[in-house]
Subunit: 146 residues, 2 copies
DNA sequence: TGAAATTAGTTGCATAACTAACTATATGCC
DNA sequence: GGCATATAGTTAGTTATGCAACTAATTTCA
């Protein structure tokens, strides 16, 4: 097997493994230490709703890169915690609009601050150009595979 | 909130989300299409055993960036499929050495080929320098957080 | 108009993740 | 030697993921 091919295989564990896991774990830990009872997956849904409220579940699938059953269950759990509410769309009765509650709106600033702090910790020694390269590579990877 | 800080928060979804998910999903799909019944998580354990056989569970934790309960259950499932076997270490009876079976050895070439193909698809339009940057950023992120 | 195809969302089943609490063995140290 | 501490691994409980199969509403088009 040619050497440069093997190196590509190795890249799998880099792209898929340690960094994303480490960041997610740290952010989750920071939420917990701040007394916030939400998971990072739930937070990623709230994050998109803070940017634009009352999205359909399908739209949340697109924006969070999750499949429909995952979103169904994340919304189930967020609804149990009274952070979002499903409302049937009047135009298309197949659609559930997922809207934030006041309780969820109160979480926005504190959790985004924690996310910013976490990313600052994570990115010590990484410069802007490198960050741009990572983003562009990941966008290319995503586009190549979907 | 200053603009550049907010952008760092956004990076979370880039580092954690779409690319790693897309690569993992594609590799899993390629395994399935080739009639291979293993998950990518199981494969990532086998991958390290192909590099060095008969590692302790703790050593597999370190190398795969997983915690102990995760490795316990991955090994449980790999053992059910008769791909690895636990053997108590003679030097330290707390330690389980996890060793490959012949069946697992037979999977090495085909699955590493599939991983290489998948990464080649994923990395179309990405050059070597960019790959090196991603690897170095991820190593820095991991080191910063652990 | 009405049957076929598409779209939105849910449910069941298997695997995997994290935390916390647990058992068993080994090591350190007085 | 013997008790405290550390290390290796397991178990229980909750959440999340992927796939396949499902229901319900909407759109397409003959």
């Amino acid at each position: 097997m040619p050497n440069n091919q093997f190196k590509r295989g190795e890249l799998y564990s880099v792209i898929n493994g340690m960094a994303s896991t480490a960041v997610a774990r740290r952010l989750q830990k920071n939420f917990r230490q701040a007394g916030l009872e939400i998971t990072i997956e739930q937070w990623s849904v709230l994050y998109h709703l803070w940017k634009e409220d009352c999205l359909s579940q399908q739209e949340l699938c697109n924006r969070t890169f999750r499949d429909k059953p995952s979103i169904t269950r994340l919304i189930d759990n967020l609804e149990k915690q009274k952070l979002v509410k499903r409302t049937a769309s009047k135009e298309d009765r197949r659609i559930n609009l997922v809207c934030l509650t006041e309780a969820a709106k109160a979480l926005q600033d504190i959790t985004i601050d924690l996310a910013n702090q976490t990313m600052s910790e994570a990115l010590v020694g990484v410069n802007k150009d490198e960050i741009e390269t990572v983003k562009s590579v990941f966008q290319k990877v995503y586009d190549n595979l979907t």
